[in-house]
């Protein structure tokens, strides 16, 4: 369990809209669905990109991942109020990360928010993490097997360069060395 500063701010962005649309890039977590659906009235799209990454690694088609991600999201441009990116970008190579960032910037509506987590150290173990929302200030980690470990750790300036159309609203460094960055799309 660890504290999160950014989630509450992310929720504030969501609650400024009626029936906000949320895009969750991680595997489905039932309690998260209940949290956003029941408490905030969100319409939630689950798009498990970690599963897509696993499939591409297993099939030896990582080179095709950027192109896949470019066509991955059916949501119209500017239609999503909030995006939970979790720590997905840490696991992608640079071209795939850039394609993903471009697509997320496209689907996010003006004034929408994107929450991303970024590691600060290269872990040896191969696992992804399910982030389970306990409440608006606490998350739980639930590791599960990954086909590929984290790629090169990104500097903050590299992260910012991935999202040229978004601005950093808030950034937090947690005691567990996780960086939380909340992006907003300028209105």
């Amino acid at each position: 369990m660890f504290a999160t500063k950014a989630l509450r701010k992310f929720l504030t962005c969501l609650t400024s809209r009626d029936a906000p649309v949320l895009l969750d890039l991680g595997p489905v977590v039932g309690t998260n669905v209940s949290f956003f659906g029941e408490q905030f009235g969100c319409k939630i799209f689950i798009e498990d990109v970690f599963a897509d990454l696993n499939r591409h690694v297993r099939e030896g088609r990582l080179d095709a991942l950027p192109e896949f991600l470019r066509k991955r999201f059916p949501q119209p441009g500017g239609s999503v109020d909030g995006i939970l990116c979790w720590d997905l970008i840490d696991y992608l190579n640079r071209p795939a990360a850039q394609e993903l960032a471009n697509e997320l910037s496209r689907v996010l509506r003006p004034d929408g928010a994107l929450l991303g987590f970024f590691g600060t150290a290269q872990p040896r173990d191969m696992h992804y993490t399910k982030f389970v929302i306990v409440d608006d200030v606490n998350l739980k980690h639930r590791p599960y097997p990954a086909a590929q470990g984290r790629q090169a750790i990104l500097l903050n300036r590299d992260i910012i360069k991935l999202f040229p159309n978004l601005r950093v609203s808030d950034s937090f460094l947690l005691q567990n060395n996780l960086r939380e960055i909340l992006f907003r799309k300028p209105a």
Partner: protein, 150 residues
């Protein structure tokens, strides 16, 4: 009084529209549309559904491909799988379930027609420290010493 529950067995394949006014458990294959007004539809572990589903409650232990609309609850159990959009006021998704699509837990009542908890308490939080320049382009090398407070 004992409640009637109808079963569609593993070897049964149905293509078309399935309507009913009692609870139903499907272990076979159904393609098309399933409508169970005011009743519970259970997709058993062997059930394979490619259909639009409308019911009071839907419990999924097998596989569903298609949109699911329930006026009460959709419950995807461990090893259950749904690929499609869910509309229901309550949705429960178990840890080992597979889901791809959207969830709309609209609060108003949802008629089963073609168009229609708070999690556990926290322990003590870890310390959190904002990076300098948090409002604009914070830059800190990952290897740099961290200023983490108590």
């Amino acid at each position: 009084m004992e409640k009637d529950i109808v079963n569609i067995g593993k070897s049964v394949v149905i293509k078309g529209e399935l309507n009913g006014s009692e609870d139903l458990t499907i272990e076979g294959h159904v393609e098309g549309t399933i409508q169970l007004k005011e009743h519970v539809l259970t997709i058993g572990p062997n059930g394979r559904i490619k259909a639009q589903v409308f019911a009071k409650a839907v419990i999924v232990l097998g596989e569903v491909t298609g949109n699911v609309t329930a006026s009460d609850k959709v419950d995807i159990r461990d090893n259950g799988s749904v690929e499609g959009d869910i509309v229901a006021p309550r949705v429960a998704i178990a840890e080992g379930a597979h889901f791809r699509g959207s969830v709309d837990m609209q609060r108003k009542g949802v008629a089963p027609q073609p168009q229609a908890a708070k999690p556990a308490q926290a322990q003590a939080p870890a310390a959190v420290v904002p990076q300098p320049q948090a409002q604009q382009a914070p830059v800190q090398a990952p290897g740099a010493p961290q200023r983490v407070g108590a």
